[in-house]
Symmetry: C2
Subunit: 281 residues, 2 copies
DNA sequence: TGTACACCGTACGGTAGCGTACACAAAGGC
DNA sequence: GCCTTTGTGTACGCTACCGTACGGTGTACA
């Protein structure tokens, strides 16, 4: 089943080529070259502490976590493994441990724009919590790593009101809403350079490393712009000494410099996440 | 208290003038001319059926509605009455009866973009339900009319898990998320004419009338574009016989024609709302 | 060692939408 | 009936970004 996701979606992801490449990329990403690929649902020798690296799971009272633990399994996600696709029933929810996932709105013509990024601070699969059976949006792995996953039915049946996780997911939902809202306005009002810097900062917060893999092609799809635009912006940022970027390896050199280039949206979103997830209201 | 909202916010709404007008408009919307304005919190002679015009309230089982009814009061909202402002504590939630409210993301420089529209199918004030104390976004009345309102504390204390309203608000939250996500992508990928048509359709769905008041200035702020752009688009739509638009009075003449001009986003959002709020998953 | 291919820098014409400005007609207060 | 305000149409130069294209340089694999 997940196999199907991977194949169909690799095709989708590459079907839209903003740089106007011909079939070359399509073949690469398409079924032909990916036939041997297998979705690695590794049941790692997980332990409680590892699962609790996810901040939602880590914030649970002992007995609540122990109640959920039998329903959790560790899976390893590779870049562009698809978790959800629009109108397809949701089978699992994912609590990222050290991976990062992207939620994408996708148009009929195949063009996509990222509308959410989820790391260890959250859970991918909110629609299950909110009462939907099928996914309204597409989601895939952006930065590889592990996640704790749980069957959608388990989430529905095991989490009730009054549970700590129920409250935490409410707050995470609120933060996600603010993220989407701010992104919407940001897409309307801010330049490619600002949005690109914001995206790098946001991902930097989530991967927890100063260096990660990221091609311009990939980033251009996240931002919904041409790859050439990303190239221009990346050159500028590199010229100012804020990042180093070479063949898909991005390294943040000057984070505060990046923050100065980025729009206010990163700060607004970060503040909102901290406010809702760390402490009180 | 609500008085303060009105005054401060009128100022905010007019502080950004995309058409580059000078202080003229500012004075009009500012404190000077609005001093005599009063927020009409009319306690109408409401009855259950009237309150139940709101689809969320209307979908409740009898006993649940009767349990909530003592906490509900009818208020009349005028255009640009502000319901929420960022970082200000939320005192009430609003169930629109025949008004429509807009949720706006607003930047430091005063520029705004609409990120949500709420009519009788929903509730304004989701952050309360989701555990926030203060508003993360600005919200004001877009189409005047009545709403049932409830103290935020009442919503927090009277609605528990297992209640029908709890489930309905979950689904409404999901629909709102999809709205924000699709809007975000739409803002990135579609033209002003497409987005403008989409906005008109969306509002048409919510007001339930073929004619409503809407200045180009107002619409330009919703869309986050110049008023001049709205003027150009409106002329085009009028030329094609899809709408008539004269001095703030908009009339929809050819709805299916509008749908053809608009992007797919309106259909996607509408489908999602229907799916989540009308029937099953 | 060659040769595919992934990834990137750069260029060039085209255009949607911007900021700004101005004039004009209808609405409304005095 | 005048005068201010509100709402609108239109224009002009400008800029960011688009679609497209092509060549160059590393990396992987035979």
């Amino acid at each position: 089943m997940l196999m199907v996701f991977t194949l169909v979606s690799q095709l989708l992801l590459f079907a839209y080529r903003p740089d106007g490449c011909t079939g070359r990329g399509l073949n690469k990403g398409g079924i032909g070259a990916e036939e041997g690929k297998e979705y690695k649902a590794v049941e790692a020798t997980y332990n409680a502490d590892y699962l609790k690296s996810n901040r939602l799971l880590g914030a649970l009272p002992v007995e609540e976590f122990e109640h959920l633990q039998p329903h959790l399994e560790t899976v390893t996600l590779e870049v562009k493994d698809f978790l959800y696709e629009r109108d397809v029933p949701i089978e699992h929810v994912y609590f990222p441990i050290d991976c990062v996932t992207s939620v994408m709105a996708q148009m009929k013509d195949g063009r996509m724009v990222e509308v959410g990024t989820i790391g260890k601070e959250g859970m991918d699969g909110l629609p299950v919590f909110l009462g939907a059976q099928t996914a309204p949006l597409t989601s895939f792995c952006q930065v590889p790593g592990d996640a704790a996953r749980m069957a959608a039915d388990a989430l529905r049946s095991e989490i009730g009101p009054g549970d700590r996780l129920h409250e935490l997911l409410h707050r995470f939902t609120e933060a996600t809403l603010v993220f989407a809202a701010q992104s919407s306005a940001c897409n309307r009002l801010h330049s490619v350079e600002q949005r690109c810097s914001r995206w790098i900062l946001h991902t930097h917060d989530r991967v927890g490393k100063d260096e990660f893999h990221l091609t311009q092609e990939f980033l251009s799809q996240m931002l919904g712009v041409r790859r050439a635009s990303v190239s221009e912006v990346a050159s500028a940022l590199q010229g100012e000494g804020l990042i180093s970027y070479w063949r898909g390896n991005l390294r943040i050199l000057d984070r505060s410099g990046l923050e100065a280039v980025a729009c206010e949206c990163h700060g607004v979103i970060t503040k909102e996440f901290d406010r809702l997830l760390d402490s009180g209201a």
